[in-house]
């Protein structure tokens, strides 16, 4: 039997905790027998949810944590003072090696801070990027970094390119993934100071399949497998993606209800439209991994439901079995000097 993949789930984080968190974790356990989950949170509340489901009890463990970090709390203070919070306990379990990874729908700020302070970075990694998968016409692209390291330096972006490339190849199975740098024009001389300094460094990097600058306009069409960017720009891209999608959907629905003919038409197209829009929903793809840490930390939306939690837990399998962190370590110590390919 293959080794178990142990995943800590922050049962108290997010708008739908603990119900959706517990349900998602149980569904992951039932879907894949390599998974064991540790549900971390207020024992009584978690057990009450668990009682609703059938599962292999050997692969679900409840770990009591008396405190909860709220979204509005200042991240650093929360991480330092709430030692018995579900989030801090999850992180410690990853740090100590009890768990290979963890999933939280709680405070983004506390997750980013805790990731650096409690889980800790892989040796050689200067900044840990948050890297969500976003839907495109062709499938998905990895957006790295998307909110973890504002005001990053060129050397950080070079590491993001390496880490992102390894992730897309090993976890997502994309052979020789294309890497583009987010820019405001397609030409090499365009961009801000950061992009102009980073571009030649990426061009020289033999470990990646660099295709040059990519414009935000072409990202939804699937212009590159890995989109390298500084956190602020990446966050703006991701959030605009979400916002435009939501607004268009709302406007289309409203438009369709405006007259009888289109109301009838709307009934006929509903299943197809729903399927299409679901495929282009940022939230469908599980959470965003915070990469480059001593273990996988997956941050999902605060509003995450079962499906997202389940997919985030399942992400940890490929992460462990494909030895992503070992590959990142090799590449970091090697640091662009010699070609080390991720194992196909």
């Amino acid at each position: 039997m293959a080794e178990m993949v142990n995943v800590a789930v922050d049962a108290m984080g997010g708008d739908n905790a603990p119900a959706e968190l517990v349900k998602g974790a149980v569904e992951a356990v039932n879907e894949d027998n390599r998974i064991k989950v540790f549900l971390v949170g207020r024992q009584e509340e978690v057990n009450k949810e668990l009682a609703k489901y059938t599962y292999d009890p050997a692969r679900v463990e409840v770990v009591h944590a008396s405190e909860v970090i709220e979204t509005a709390e200042p991240p650093v203070v929360a991480i330092r003072t709430k030692k018995d919070s579900s989030l801090v306990k999850c992180m410690k379990m990853v740090r100590e090696g009890t768990c290979d990874g963890m999933v939280t729908a709680g405070s983004t700020g506390a997750t980013l801070v805790g990731g650096q302070l409690l889980v800790g970075r892989i040796k050689g990694v200067d900044r840990a990027p948050l890297a969500p998968l976003i839907p495109t016409e062709k499938g998905v692209s990895l957006l790295i970094d998307c909110g973890a390291s504002v005001d990053a330096k060129p050397s950080n972006l070079v590491q993001f390119a390496l880490i992102g490339s390894i992730y897309m190849e090993s976890v997502m199975g994309v052979k020789n993934p294309t890497v583009g740098i987010l820019n405001i024009g397609a030409e090499e001389e365009k961009g801000n100071a950061l992009v102009k300094e980073t571009f030649p460094l990426l061009k020289e990097l033999k470990e990646i399949n660099f295709i040059g600058s990519v414009e935000a306009r072409d990202v939804p069409a699937g212009v590159a497998d890995v989109i390298v960017c500084e956190a602020f720009a990446g966050n703006v891209l991701l959030k605009t993606y979400e916002g435009v999608g939501m607004t268009m959907l709302k406007l289309i629905k409203k438009g369709l209800m405006s007259n009888l003919k289109s109301k009838i038409g709307a009934l006929m197209i509903k299943p197809t439209l729903k399927k299409t829009l679901k495929g282009f929903n940022v939230e469908e793809y599980g959470g965003a991994p915070l990469l480059g840490l001593n273990g996988l930390v997956v941050k999902t939306h605060g509003s995450s439901k079962t499906i997202e939690i389940k997919n985030s837990v399942l992400q940890c399998i490929a992460f462990k079995e494909q030895k992503i962190n070992e590959k990142i370590k090799e590449n970091m110590s090697n640091n662009g000097k010699e070609k080390i390919l991720p194992e196909g």
Copy 2:
């Protein structure tokens, strides 16, 4: 009779030049008798297009320009060497006061460079921002800056907030427009170094109705009338808007053609869907004004068609009649020390 609004139109710039440019200019002339256009470009080609239409000949003048600046040319070189290009000639006409404003669908780079070098900035304006109107659920918002001044300083963003506020109030008729700063979280302590430094300056600025940080996710819903941002982030937001819109439309169309039932439904909803999507199309709102210059420079999409050109030409009327540049001048010399309200 009110004073004429003289507008130079770069008849040779963009993918659809000169046909759509000439047609758009003529339509503006026919729609509003305050407009006089100067069609700048290769005389023979322009006249050939003009021959197709009926218009008041006293309000359409052709100005010959033998050269054309191509999109791929390095902007600074192009502006300096192609003295007889349609773009350079338009800019000189604005600088000299022959025209109140100009419209081009040509090279963005050359337009930005030429704007600074040839048209020149209003005294006190340190950087001239490019500020497109983008569609929202509530109407439109002004995104300022969106590609003109990468790596801007806090003082630049403060000026953008003032200029954007004046524009929205005087040209778009929004009373006491709300101003937000684009950020990666709603809290004051969030953001990169630039946003953190700019935030308190905007908070102190009595001339504007500052509402704090706004997230890209809420921009499509119409969270603020004026969105202040550094050019790189603004450009990413704008381009993502366009890209997600295009991709969603493509996917919806493809989905609707996938089975008979939805094909029939699609026929019934087509007029309504078309109307909805048209209202949420970035290109519908005429071009993006490059503000803070000695005259209005409107940059439209390279792929602009008649409607966009016409709307861009018509923009110049409010710009002149509302004395936008005089208001900007007053506010710049005043520079945040005393409240000077734009005239209602």
